[in-house]
C-alpha cells in the first residue's frame, strides 16, 4: 500500500502561500483567482454534470478561458457557499489523475504536482449516481491527496430510472468524506454549499497515498518523477524535501513502474468496489430483466446458434422478397425505355449500330444499369443489418460465433477481422493487425477470403432469383452459412497442414443492453454503406465494361458457327478456360468469362454477363428480361440438363475462389507474395473441389 503523510496546510496559510510561492511545474496555477477568497475546484469525469453544477452555483458570475500556458479551457466564477464567498474553478473532465490527455494533465498538475499552497482550498469531486463505479475512481485518487474534499453526487434521477438507489451516508462512510446529492438542473445545491462551508472551516484531511504516481516537492520541476520512474520501485518522495511516503504491501511485485501503477490502481478499485457494494441497492428494472431473459436464449451454447441462423434466414428472406418487385421494375425500366431511348437518340445523330452504340447501350447501360437494380436490395439488407447491430443483437451473435471458433481451435480474436470480411475483404485483411501472434495473423489473412463480401451478394441474388424463384432467399442464406463452414474448414485444413503451431487467444466481448435502434443513425449507416458500394462498384464496373467491350470487339477466333463475341479475344480466353469447369457443370464460356472478370472484382460479374449477353442480341428491345433466360439456356446446355446442381456448384465456386485483386494486394502487403500465392491455390482447390462434388453428387439426385 502506498501512503503519504503530509503536513496539513491551514486555509489562511494556503491563501498566503499562494500569493507568493512559485509552483512546482511552471505556471500551472495561472488562472486560480488570487483575490484572497478560498478557491474551490470542481473535478470529475466527463459527462457527470460537472459543468451544470458549475453553472448552477455561479449563475452569471463566471467566465471561461484557457488555463495559463495551456490550451485547456477552464471556467472560473464566484459562489456564495453558505456564508462564505469562494472562487470556483471548473476543471476539465478527467477520468483519472494518471493523465492521458492535456485536460487530465492539468487536473493532475493542480491537485497533485502543485505545491500545497498552490492547490485549491477545497475540491468538490463530482460523481454520477448512474455511473458510480466509473466516476468514483477519480475520487479515490483525489482522496490520496492532503486536500479538503467533498463529494457531490449527480444524476440521482437517472440512476433511479435504472433501478439504482445510492445511500449517500453509506457512501460517505465508506469513502471517509462527506457526500451530498445535488440536482444542478433544478438548482438543488444548498446541501453542497453547506458542506463546502464546513469543509473550508476545517483543516485538510490527511492524504492516503501518492496519486498520479508522483507527488513533487516544491521546486523539483518534475525531475523527481522522472527519477522515480527510471529506478525500479523508485519512489517519488525520495527526493530531498519531499513529503515522506511509505511503500508497503506490494506483494513483492513492485519491481517496475507498471506493477506499481497496477497495484495502486487495484487498491483504489478495492475502495471503489467496497463503496459501491455498501452504498448501492439495485431493483431489477423491466428493461434489465428483458435484456437478461433474451440473452439467456441468444447467447445459449445450443439455442444461440439456432437463433442466429433463424435471424439471418429472416434477414435474407425479407431482403429478397421485398426487393424483388422493385428490382424487376427497375430492370424493365433500364433495359426497356432507357436503352430504347438512348438508341433512339443515337439514331438521331447517326450513330445507331456503331461502336458508340455498342459501348453505351450494351456496355455502360447494361452493366451499370444491372448494378442499379440491386440498389433497393442492398438498401434493405444494409438497413436490416444496421438494425441488428444497433439493437445490440449482433454483439450476441458475436459471442455465439466466437464460441464456435474456439470450439474448432481457431484463435478467438480472429473473429474481429472475419466479421469485417462479411462487408469487404480488403479492410478485413488489414484488420488482422489486431492479432498479436504472427502465425495467427497469417492464418486469419488466409481465411478472410472465405467470408462472403457484399459484392458476391449481387451474384447470389441474380442467380438464385433466376433459378430458384421463391426459394431465392433460402439459397442466399445457405451461401452465407456455407461461407462460415468454409472458414472453419479452411482453418482446420490449414491448421492440420501448413500452420500447425497456431495458439489460441481468448476474446472477451462487452455486451451492451438491448436498445431501440435510432432511425437517424440507421439511415446514416445505410446511406454510408450504400453510397460507398455504388461509388466503388460503379468505378470498377465502368472500367471493366470498357475492357470487356474492347476485348469483345477484337476478333481472334474463326469459328463460323459461333457467336461473334465468342470469336473475340474475351470469348476465346473464356472458351479456353471453360473446360476446367466442365466437371462442375458450368463449363460454358459465358460463365467462365464472368468468373475471370470476378477474379478482378466480384461487382463486375453481373455486369459482364449483362454486357456479353446484350452484345449477342443487339437491338432486341422486345426481350428486356433476356439475361435470366440466357443464363438458364447456357446452364442447361453446360450441365447436360442438371441445372440445379450446376448452378449451386457455380455459386459455391464463386464464394470460394479469389475474391478480387484488391484483396490479393492487401494480402501481399500483410503476409508477402509467397503466402498470397499459396492462399490463391488453397482457395481455388477448395472451391473447385467442393463445386465439383456438389455437381457430381447433385446430378445423382433424380
Amino acid at each position: 500500500m502506498v501512503t503519504t503523510s503530509a503536513t496539513p496546510v491551514s486555509r489562511p496559510d494556503a491563501v498566503a502561500a499562494r500569493r507568493s510561492a512559485p509552483s512546482c511545474h511552471g505556471d500551472g496555477g495561472g488562472d486560480v483567482p488570487r483575490d484572497g477568497r478560498p478557491v474551490v475546484a470542481l473535478v470529475g469525469s466527463p459527462n457527470v454534470g460537472k459543468s451544470s453544477l458549475f453553472n448552477a452555483v455561479t449563475g452569471a458570475r463566471r467566465s471561461v478561458g484557457n488555463w495559463a500556458g495551456t490550451s485547456v479551457e477552464v471556467g472560473s466564477g464566484s459562489w456564495r457557499a453558505g456564508a462564505v464567498d469562494v472562487a470556483v474553478v471548473d476543471l476539465p473532465g478527467a477520468y483519472s489523475l494518471d493523465p492521458l490527455s492535456p485536460d487530465e494533465e492539468l487536473t493532475r498538475d493542480l491537485l497533485v504536482r502543485a505545491e500545497p499552497a498552490e492547490r485549491p482550498d477545497l475540491v468538490v469531486v463530482v460523481v454520477s449516481a448512474a455511473d458510480l463505479a466509473r466516476t468514483l475512481y477519480l475520487a479515490a485518487q483525489v482522496l490520496e491527496q492532503p486536500l479538503r474534499i467533498v463529494i457531490a453526487m449527480t444524476m440521482g434521477d437517472v440512476a433511479a430510472r435504472r433501478g439504482i438507489q445510492v445511500d449517500t451516508a453509506a457512501l460517505g462512510a465508506a469513502l471517509g468524506v462527506p457526500v451530498v446529492a445535488v440536482d444542478a438542473r433544478r438548482g438543488k445545491v444548498a446541501g453542497l454549499a453547506e458542506l463546502v462551508r464546513e469543509g473550508l472551516a476545517g483543516p485538510p484531511r490527511a492524504g492516503t497515498g501518492v496519486a498520479g504516481g508522483c507527488a513533487c516537492p516544491p521546486g523539483c520541476g518534475g525531475d523527481c518523477c522522472a527519477a522515480s520512474r527510471a529506478v525500479p520501485g523508485g519512489d517519488a518522495t525520495a527526493a530531498p524535501g519531499a513529503p515522506k511516503a511509505d511503500v508497503v504491501g506490494t506483494d513483492g511485485e513492485g519491481a517496475d513502474l507498471d506493477d506499481e501503477e497496477f497495484l495502486a490502481a487495484d487498491r483504489r478499485f478495492a475502495l471503489v468496489a467496497q463503496a459501491v457494494a455498501v452504498a448501492t441497492r439495485r431493483s431489477g428494472t423491466a428493461r434489465a430483466d428483458w435484456t437478461d431473459r433474451v440473452d439467456r436464449v441468444a447467447t445459449h451454447p445450443v439455442a444461440g446458434p439456432l437463433v442466429f441462423l433463424a435471424v439471418m434466414w429472416a434477414v435474407f428472406q425479407l431482403t429478397t422478397r421485398v426487393a424483388a418487385p422493385v428490382q424487376d421494375a427497375l430492370g424493365g425500366l433500364l433495359s426497356g425505355p432507357v436503352s430504347g431511348g438512348l438508341r433512339g437518340l443515337l439514331g438521331l445523330v447517326g450513330l445507331r449500330g456503331s461502336w458508340v452504340d455498342g459501348l453505351l447501350v450494351d456496355g455502360v447501360v447494361a452493366g451499370v444499369g444491372m448494378l442499379l437494380t440491386f440498389v433497393p436490395l442492398m438498401a434493405i439488407m444494409f438497413s436490416l443489418l444496421a438494425v441488428l447491430e444497433d439493437s445490440g443483437y449482433l454483439a450476441r451473435a458475436a459471442v455465439v460465433t466466437d464460441r464456435l471458433m474456439r470450439a474448432v481451435g481457431l484463435p478467438g480474436r480472429a473473429f474481429l477481422p472475419l466479421v469485417v470480411g462479411f462487408g469487404c475483404n480488403v479492410p478485413a485483411v488489414s484488420a488482422t493487425r489486431v492479432l498479436p501472434n504472427a502465425r495467427q495473423r497469417l492464418l486469419t489473412v488466409l481465411l478472410v477470403p472465405f467470408t462472403s463480401c457484399s459484392a458476391r451478394l449481387t451474384v447470389y441474388v441474380l442467380v438464385s432469383s433466376t433459378f430458384f424463384g421463391a426459394h431465392a432467399g433460402d439459397v442466399v442464406f445457405g451461401m452465407y452459412v456455407l461461407s462460415i463452414v468454409l472458414v472453419i474448414l479452411g482453418g482446420l485444413l490449414l491448421r492440420s497442414t501448413l500452420l500447425r503451431a497456431v495458439g489460441t487467444e481468448d476474446l472477451v466481448l462487452d455486451l451492451p443492453r438491448y436498445q431501440l435502434p435510432m432511425p437517424r443513425l440507421l439511415l446514416a449507416v445505410t446511406w454510408m454503406r450504400l453510397s460507398a458500394f455504388l461509388r466503388t462498384a460503379g468505378g470498377i464496373i465502368v472500367a471493366t465494361v470498357v475492357v470487356v467491350w474492347a476485348l469483345s470487339t477484337i476478333q481472334v477466333g474463326h469459328d463460323r458457327g459461333a457467336e461473334p463475341v465468342q470469336n473475340s479475344a474475351y470469348g476465346q480466353l473464356a472458351t479456353a478456360a471453360s473446360p476446367l469447369f466442365s466437371p462442375a457443370g458450368f463449363g460454358d464460356w459465358h460463365a467462365t468469362g464472368a468468373l475471370l472478370v470476378g477474379f478482378v472484382a466480384k461487382e463486375a460479374v453481373v455486369s459482364s454477363w449483362a454486357q456479353t449477353y446484350a452484345t449477342e442480341e443487339p437491338g432486341d428491345l422486345h426481350r428486356p428480361g433476356s439475361l435470366g433466360a440466357s443464363l438458364q439456356d447456357d446452364f442447361e446446355r453446360s450441365s447436360g440438363g442438371h441445372v440445379t446442381p450446376a448452378v449451386l456448384a457455380f455459386l459455391v465456386f464463386l464464394l470460394g475462389y479469389t475474391p478480387c485483386v484488391a484483396t490479393l494486394a492487401a494480402q501481399r502487403r500483410e503476409i508477402g507474395g509467397r503466402w498470397t500465392l499459396i492462399g490463391i491455390g488453397v482457395q481455388f482447390v477448395l472451391a473447385w473441389t467442393i463445386a465439383v462434388a456438389v455437381f457430381q453428387l447433385g446430378r445423382l439426385v433424380p
Binding site: F262, P512, T536
Partner: protein, 103 residues
C-alpha cells in the same frame, strides 16, 4: 446493499484473471468474481488505460465497398469499423495484453 465479494479486495487483479481465464463476456466476469457489473466495466476501462487490456469497438463491417479498392478511408477507422457521428458502440472486444517474453 450487497455484501462485498472476496474479489473486492483486489478487483483489478480478479477481473484480469477472469479475462485471462477466458470469460466470454463482462456479465460472466461479474458473475464469476461476484463484483458489481458496473465495477467490472469500470475496472476493464482502467485496465485499458493501464495497457493491460486492449479494447476494439467493432461494427459488422466497413462501408460495404465490395471487393474493389476499399472506400474505407472516409468512413472507417483503422480497423475498418464505421464511425458515423453520434453512433454508440454496440460491441467492444477486449483482449488481454500479454507481455513480450524477454530473451
Amino acid at each position: 446493499m450487497t455484501a462485498p465479494s472476496p474479489a473486492a479486495a483486489s478487483p483489478l487483479r480478479a477481473v484480469l484473471a477472469e479475462l485471462d481465464a477466458g470469460a466470454p463476456t463482462l456479465d460472466e466476469v461479474a458473475r464469476r468474481t461476484g463484483l458489481d457489473r458496473d465495477v467490472v466495466a469500470a475496472a476493464v476501462e482502467q485496465l485499458v488505460r493501464l495497457r493491460r487490456v486492449t479494447a476494439s469497438a467493432l461494427s459488422t463491417s466497413c462501408p460495404d465497398g465490395g471487393c474493389g479498392p476499399c472506400p474505407a478511408g472516409s468512413g472507417c477507422d483503422a480497423r475498418g469499423a464505421p464511425a458515423p457521428s453520434g453512433r454508440r458502440p454496440v460491441l467492444v472486444a477486449l483482449s488481454v495484453r500479454r507481455p513480450t517474453p524477454h530473451p
